[in-house]
């Protein structure tokens, strides 16, 4: 059996690595995602006051610090058995909507667009945001930067800092909003809403207007029929911050719907001997392997999953685009991995609409933003939808609020099995029978991986500052046959 290894050699974003094992006939036999372990997070937290943890967890990930801050804050609320004042909850949700706008904009233009706007088989040197700007024009590039900055400034206004927010405290938020703050939020929000509409229009023009791309999205190698997970509100609409976790199987049937505190009853984690990675699955179905179909116990937690798991979007424009997406994809649930990019844009629009909706709510001007905890702290679980998947924080403390146990299920962990399965399917298609896979073909495999926007990072960066990829093709006896570097 030969081995193809897609192996980042820097630590940035963690050392994510994909190993593809080929059989003697040159066909892909299997594919596995490998992520190196960052050690000692629980020990790092144990012994600290639990209210510090939401500020610590922003440092474990350079990609989703705000999501960790929110999940951590909700877990601490639960540890202290405290209910938030309505204004505090809305301010948190507003911040989170702004963060989603920021994150989804970044992902689409910097990561998704290169594959579609520049082209999946374009040279790697062009397949980046600079190539996108070359293709769509400098003006759009400036728009991306400008709106990203609007969202960043508004995160600072609400959360105190751009990357590592500090404003969520047990029972509320540390700072309220003034009329001037809200006026600025509304002004920037209106611009960002227009930009979200523009982004969907761009997607329709560039991607949906190109038959080749539509065929690629709908093609079998980029389809994965497994379950879907997402947080929903009381009307079963997509919600990023609050609600219940709903899981549907590949046929669209609801398998379970649970509150944060009950996650352990519904989700279990499988371990394979070749990896320390955990593979979450639907507990009541039991682990039945890396298989597709209505009986599969594997689910994914991505933008498309959130839309699949819900009954719709809670805002009108996002709902329109939600309906259009499913109509184009041939119905619901949709299992096209590359449609994750489209779902992400529907969520981008939803985040901008939600931003405007909350900014127009006078409740956020209330001074009642903090309930002082009085109960004895015990144990708490907080769940939010991180842009990269459902994020669960579980803390236990002693009676003084000192941490005794921490467990996190991060967004990408939910997708460990689906990423491996998606990569395998794409690799089976593009590498089958090819002794010397070309760089462009390799990118077609990576596209399956990139659509998930995986986050392996618990570090912020490290020189040389980028994550290069290597492909190693091994003979059946383990000897190196090819060593390709994507450059």
């Amino acid at each position: 059996m030969k081995k193809v290894s897609i192996d980042p050699i820097t630590r940035l974003e963690g050392h994510g690595k994909i190993e593809i094992f080929m059989d003697d006939d040159g066909n892909v036999a299997n594919a596995y995602l490998q992520i190196p372990e960052l050690r000692g997070f629980e020990q790092f937290c144990v012994g600290r006051p639990v209210e510090e943890v939401p500020r610590i967890v922003t440092r474990i990930c350079g990609v989703c610090p705000t999501a960790h801050h929110m999940a951590g804050a909700k877990a601490v609320d639960a540890v202290y058995h405290v209910e938030l004042p309505l204004a505090a909850k809305k301010i948190r949700e507003l911040h989170y909507a702004v963060y989603y706008f920021y994150d989804h904009t970044l992902h689409f233009y910097y990561l998704g667009a290169p594959d579609f706007v520049v082209g999946p088989t374009a040279p790697a040197a062009k397949r980046n945001v600079l190539g996108v700007i070359e293709k769509v024009g400098l003006e759009i590039g400036k728009q991306v930067i400008e709106h990203r900055r609007f969202a960043q400034d508004m995160q600072i206004l609400i959360g105190g800092r751009s990357t590592h927010p500090v404003f969520c405290i047990a029972g509320g938020v540390s700072k309220g909003l003034t009329k001037d703050d809200v006026a600025e939020l509304a002004e920037k929000g209106a611009k960002c809403l227009e930009f979200a509409k523009f982004s969907l229009k761009l997607f329709e023009d560039v991607v949906l207007g190109n038959k080749e791309y539509v065929d690629l999205i709908l093609s079998e190698p980029y389809r994965l029929e497994i379950g879907d997970m997402g947080l929903v509100d009381e009307n079963n609409k997509v919600n990023f911050y609050d609600g219940k976790v709903r899981v549907k199987d590949a046929s669209g049937k609801e398998v379970c719907k649970y509150a944060a505190a009950d996650y352990y009853e519904h989700i279990a984690e499988h371990v394979e001997p070749y990896s320390y990675l955990k593979y979450p699955f639907i507990k009541k179905r039991g682990w039945n392997g890396f298989v597709e179909g209505a009986d599969s116990s594997i689910y994914r937690a991505i933008p498309l999953s959130r839309l699949n798991a819900a009954d719709g979007m809670a805002t009108p424009l996002a709902q329109e685009h939600y309906e259009k997406m499913y109509e184009t994809l041939g119905g619901k649930p949709a299992h096209q991995t590359l449609a994750i990019h489209w779902a992400r844009l529907v969520e981008l629009l939803y985040s901008a609409e939600l931003w405007m909706e909350i900014a127009a709510d006078e409740e956020i001007l209330s001074d009642d933003i903090h309930t002082i905890p009085t109960a004895t702290p015990t144990e708490g679980i907080g769940i939010v939808e991180a842009p990269r998947g459902t994020l669960t924080h579980h803390y236990e403390t002693d009676e003084n609020g000192i941490v005794t146990k921490v467990n996190l299920i991060v967004g990408t962990t939910n997708n460990n099995a689906p990423i491996s399965m998606s990569v395998k399917k794409a690799a089976q298609h593009v590498l089958a029978g090819k002794k010397d896979p070309e760089e462009g073909l390799l990118n077609m495999v990576e596209m399956a991986f990139r659509a998930y926007d995986p986050c392996f990072s618990c570090a912020t960066h490290s020189l040389p500052g980028q994550m290069p990829l290597e492909i190693k093709v091994f003979e059946a006896d383990g000897s190196l046959r090819h060593h390709l570097v994507r450059s």
Binding site: I9, Y110, K142, H461, Q466, P468
Partner: protein
């Protein structure tokens, strides 16, 4: 974050994760170097981030010294290497937007009309363990810290340093 307005003086930009052991070395060296200088000689930015957000931190500064950890195994723990931009030239398209490299950020910023540094130097430091959550450096890094600060001070601000005697 900054002690001065952009462009008024050189910027010392420390990069790192403060809770991942040796990954904090860039932050510690930058802080100690800044403290070693007379008031107003340079600004300090401790950046616990990477990717495109680095571009925001660079905007408006003419002279920048970036101090960061080098990937493990590339250099002896505690050893220092000075890199020019050519040494970091992009060989790969970023796999995620969150890891867009320094060169990528600079090029994008320039194309978009942002003022990017025209004099940028990178100091990379070899590390032993940036994978274990800790607020402490490993012993080799802790021992090397004072020497690293002096070395970078001389190269930047010493009598024959890059930016002259301050």
């Amino acid at each position: 974050m900054y002690a001065a307005e952009p462009g008024a003086c050189p910027l010392i930009l420390g990069l790192g994760n403060p809770i991942l052991g040796d990954d904090r070395i860039g932050l510690e060296v930058a802080r100690a170097l800044h403290a070693r200088l007379p008031p107003g000689a340079a600004a300090l930015c401790e950046a616990e981030l990477g990717g495109m957000e680095l571009m925001d931190r660079l905007e408006g500064w003419r002279k920048v010294a970036l101090i960061d950890a080098l990937e493990p195994g590339a250099l002896e723990p505690g050893a220092l290497v000075e890199l020019e931009l050519d040494d970091l030239a992009t060989r790969y398209a970023p796999l995620t937007p969150h890891n867009a490299g320094l060169c990528h950020c600079l090029e994008l910023g320039m194309r978009l009309g942002m003022q990017m540094p025209d004099d940028l130097v990178v100091f990379a430091i070899g590390v032993q363990d940036p994978y274990t959550f800790s607020e402490q450096l490993t012993a080799p890094l802790a021992q090397a810290l004072p020497g690293l600060v002096e070395e970078i001070f001389e190269r930047l601000f010493g009598p024959v340093g890059r930016w002259g005697c301050q």
